[in-house]
Amino acid sequence: MDVFLQTLVSGVLIGGIYALIGIGMTLIMGVMHIINLAHGQLMMVAMYITFVLYQYLGLDPYVSLFIAMPALFLLGAVIQKLFLNPLLKVDSILPENQVLMTVGIGMVLTEIVRIIFGSDYKSVTTSYSGSVMYLGDIAFNTPMVVAFGIALALTAGLFYFLLRTDLGKSVRATAQNKEAARLMGVNAERITVLTFGIGAGLVAAAGTLLLPIFYLFPDIGGHFTLKAFVITILGGLGSTVGAIFGGVVLGIAESFGATYLSMDLKDVVGMVIFLLVLIFLPGGLKRLTKI
């Protein structure tokens, strides 16, 4: 029973981190219908910012959150404005050229970081990195619990933003129909810049929160990009609550896969579920729950 419970707890907690990664992607995919294959690389940049702040200024990662998120917001906005929006005016054979652009952006980000920091592994070990809470025999890693809480808080915040503020409503309008939104006086271009910025800011939070319990190197991004779109598809495009749901489902699925199948097959389990949902459940798991 302990094995089962501990696996479940691990899965849910890692799901919180996954959700944070996915929530930014779901916003980007939902509004702009762009699959952002540089998502993990943006997270990597945020992690390096956090790392530098910690290493040279001694800033706690949780404090860095307030620097890394705005910084990535800016980076995301710049990427959207300079590299993605211009593509809307380009007539290309493949409508997917925006996706391919993000591949290029991801490569460039990775290589710039590699030239600056080298490909060494870096890590940040804080006093609370290994701190654990116990409930009976079940261990809860404290930084992961915190990350989970922040994931929930950010989701709630985003939910409020999208539902209650004028700007948020414009974002939703743009997501539903760009042309119509434009006719209603929404500056669609600015909205996409804003959305990509917010998406990047959110994944920055994921990176910063992950750093105390993980490590980083320039190539770390690709792995998490894959996770991000798996989560987004699982949760349903553009659904913020769906991202939490998708993240936790992926976390649990991987954990159980690792415990009851093999640690080797953890990622296979995630990919297979992803493929099944993509093919048989378009719209993601949220269709089942009607959230």
Binding site: V3, S10, I14, D219, S255, T259, D267
Partner: protein, 418 residues
Amino acid sequence: MKRLLTMTLACAVGLAMLSFLGCSSEQKTEKAEKAEKAVVAAPAGDTVTVGIILPLSGGQAKFGEVEKKSFDMALDEINTAGGINGKKLVFMYEDDTGRPDVGRSAAEKLINKDKVVMLGGGYSSSVTFAVAGVAQQNRLPFLINTGSADKITEQGWEYIFRLNPPASEYPKAVESFLTEVVKPKSAAILFENSNFGTSSSKEFNETCQRLGIEVVLLEGYEHGGVDFKPLLVKVKEKNPDIVYMVSYLMDASLLMKQSKELQIMPKAFIGGGAGFTLPEFIENTGSAGNAVFSATLWYQTLPYPGAKEYYDKFVKLYDGPTEYHGAEAYAAAFVIADTLKRAKSFSAEDIRQALAETDMTTVFGPVKFKAYDTKTNQNDVATYMVQWIDGNLELVWPETHASKKYMYPIDWAAMWGK
């Protein structure tokens, strides 16, 4: 139609340029090489170039860097002491980025374009294996100093020599420690799903069967995971006497940290080399890494001539500690120099001959290539066991060489608290 024409023309021009580059480069590279030689050469005016293939970028760059520094340090000493019979020794480094296909291309380039007299280096098992194939086919001697998959020296390749022991022998010292001290009944083996991880874990699994230790869990994992708890929770459930892990640095750290979180308390945690002996391991893990054992091939207090001096000089020069990988590289550099000095000429055959006749002592211990079991041209090396005691890596086994008495049995509960 016209477009097609221009296109093809463009291709043609590009190719023509390339072929021009190619044919002129033959002469050019020679010229350039000479020019290069002229710049770097000692007054004697001649150099001998050896190609060294190491991971200088990518995930294994950490180890590659330690090895490159050690090679550089040795090179400096060799040339200061007169080089190769008056000729200056040059190491030409190529980055394999940790990928076998890149390593192969690098070897091709060193052999065919740069015309090196022999190859050295070889960090990861897959890269080394791929490079060894190229070297053997081109009949150019290759001295491996780290790549440890058993297969490499089991092919009967006469041009491939290995300074370090094969992966299966890394835990030799661990074996005697287990039979004499721990006497475990059960073991869990966790390994990274890489060439080194797979082959070492396979071998250790066989060792356990031979010793009558029940292997309750043998499981690989993908590098780069955040959460090892689903794996560790199984370890905890099976409650083995020892946990043996083959991991690179970061996974090693995470495994120990998360083992502490789950309060897994076997009689001993033993690492299979690689990630468990780096100073970063204890930095990352803190108290979770304390009392962890690891197989190793070298320690600075071993009674080999120059071992301590190498360690101290390295620390002084590069402001950071070194470990067995560095010692392997440093020793390899001296073996290369010794071979080239003894070789009748710099032809591949003469160098191979000289390499085969090597019989010297290095900081890494005695070096002599022989055939034993199914292996050929393999240096037979003694192995050791280290343990992290109070934040320091100490040699604990065999006891005759120990720098400190091993810490066993281990009171995890007291050390970790809850």
